[in-house]
């Protein structure tokens, strides 16, 4: 007797973001149609389906929590999802907009908007894991289609997704790219940055700027010292760690340390 297997139900939610990580699905081309055969896209506003309050097997969450309403909404997403997977730097670390966390947000609002009272914005932009339990995180600014499909395929097969927290340096070696830090003397973040992009920046001969967030066992002290030997000012070293993953704890600590006055 034939039994019909229920297709896994998938939702894509958006919080404060640039929409770029959703493109890992929207840019799949004909594979998007193939994906839609294998899973049921229950909620994905940018692609059309709208049903944020239905139970799903997997919820992908793009964006950071940055308004009072977001705090309520992420709780609701959690309640309706078996697996909740933040995707991208905004969702895993607060994103580039978390650069406001160290600043006077109220003053910024007043400088940009003439009705500051109408702008509901929290003082801090924070990652999803700061508010609810998450089941797996995909780092990257943006995440790419390969990462997204690997997660979907793992879940379809019922195995835990693979988490590669190794360094971008390993990808350079694997591709045979010359080390830009050594050969060109540029301030490359590859030695402390999580792999996953395929070492795109070094492939063009430029510095990695850390868009995949901190790798495991990242030796930021040694890298900061190397940057100083290369002639970067303490402010410039600090700003190396203040990019799209500025609130990832390892980069935040490294930036604080680089910006602190020291006895010589």
């Amino acid at each position: 007797m034939m039994t019909s297997v229920r297709k896994p139900r998938v939702a894509v939610h958006k919080f404060s973001s640039c929409d770029g990580c959703q493109l890992a699905l929207l840019n799949l081309g004909e594979d998007l149609l193939a994906l839609a055969e294998r899973v049921e896209l229950v909620h994905f506003a940018e692609a059309g389906p709208l049903d944020p309050e239905s139970d799903v097997d997997v919820a992908f969450v793009e964006g950071s929590v940055s308004t009072p309403e977001d705090i309520e909404r992420i709780q609701q997403v959690r309640r309706h999802s078996r697996f909740l997977i933040p995707i991208g730097a905004c969702a895993t670390a607060g994103g580039i907009q978390a650069l406001r966390n160290g600043a006077n947000g109220a003053q910024w609002v007043a400088q940009i908007y003439s009705h500051p009272e109408a702008i509901a914005s929290l003082a801090h932009s924070t990652p999803i894991s700061g508010h609810v339990n998450v089941d797996f995180e995909l780092w990257g600014c943006p995440v790419n289609s390969r990462q997204m499909l690997a997660v979907v395929n793992s879940l379809l097969l019922g195995v835990a997704p693979h988490d590669n927290a190794d360094k971008v340096c390993t990808e350079c070696k694997r591709h045979g790219y010359p080390c830009v830090l050594v050969s060109r003397g540029v301030a490359c973040m590859g030695p402390v940055t999580r792999a996953g992009c395929g070492a795109l920046c070094p492939s063009l001969g430029r510095d990695c700027y850390g868009c995949y967030g901190p790798a495991e066992n990242a030796n930021t002290d040694a890298l900061a010292a190397q940057f100083e030997r290369q002639g970067l000012t303490p402010q410039a070293v600090m700003q190396r760690f203040q990019s799209v993953n500025n609130q990832a704890p390892v980069f935040l600590a490294a930036a604080d340390k680089a910006g602190m006055p020291r006895d010589e």
């Binding site: 973001s17 840019n27 149609l33 839609a36 692609a47 908007y113 003439s114 702008i119």
Partner: protein, 433 residues
Amino acid sequence: MSEQRRSVAIHVPVLARVEGEGALDLRIDDGAITELRLRIFEPPRFFEKFLEGHHYSEIPDMVARICGICPVAYQVTAAQALEKLFGVELDPWARAMRRVFYCGEWIQSHSLHIHLLAAPDFFGCNSAIELAKIAPDDVRRGLRIQALGNELMDLFGARSVHPVGVRIGGFHGAPPLARIREVREKLRAALPEAEALVRWTAGIAVPQDDQVFVSVAMQHPTGYAIETGGIAASDGLLIDAGGFDAHFAERHEAHSTALFSAYHGQPYLVGPLARLNLNHAHLPERVRALLAETGLALPSRNLFHSLVARAVEILLALHEALRLLDAYRVPDSPWVAVTPRAGVATGCTEAPRGLLWHRYEMDDDGRVLSARIVPPTSQNQARIEEDLRLSLLSFGLDQPDDALRLHCEKVIRNYDPCISCATHFLRMNVERG
């Protein structure tokens, strides 16, 4: 009488198929619109503030994050504004390849919009996935064209979302000739596909509309303006980027996190239809011939022609990319050295959704003192509200609520609002008194 004063309120939770988060409030009293506001809810991200203090070399990577769909527009606009201030003369190779790179984004963004966001409306579908069941060949063709746009961006940026190739002074790297040859073949093969796309979009029945508005787009004496040119308006204005503030002003309305722009105090249109209205004479011969075949009369005052305008611009961008890549050579260096200088940098380009204007005040060390960015969607915001009001009146306010809502959504999607850019969602409340 009591029948007429019946109070109706509709709450539609999210406007789907737009980029970002916005809402629409509509109130109808005694058969007249008493309130109509496009509300943009996307949380503010304060880019202009946190750019302050950062070095010019970081700007292309930072401003890309404003929008995942049009990062190239942000990168190229910022780079060109700063290059002008620093007195950098780009290598002709880099100038040409910036245009090719930008064509890739037009192709990607326009294909995504036509197929995934706009077209399903006209076939009674909720998504491209549903549409692919009725019109599989058309949707698949669109997705292939979108992929080719991504590939062009990839060529110079190593990825199409937040590409990493632009630097002040040119590009970080130059693709090898072998890869260019492959892409040229794909571009040539895509031309007939894009021609079929233009015919397909021209054949989609859209509402008739006729509205009076000013079109604003960049203009260039010798070509269809994309990444270079002055700012022109359909009333005869022609200025350079530095003159923007004298004619255009932004104001904040309490119902939106995006700022509204006005041209001499009035709403105006930017984007593909505005560009086509002003610049159709600069289209390549083959594109003009096809346009004539579709019967679209320009300038058009019907925003529903935005769909075919995007298809025409895809074909144009494919032609341009091919023309420039046919003359490709590997440069001695993909970039020239830059020396920063203090002062005010202004620049603009035509993002897929319309004019994008940047202004940076820089210090002697090449660090940002202040930044201002005017994206296309905030420029269109007042025009969208005006269009909705006029469109609803011609559509008929006595139509059922669902039909009104769908019509509003179609009107809004004509502008392909990128609410991420404008900061961003759509919920719609209709109230009838």
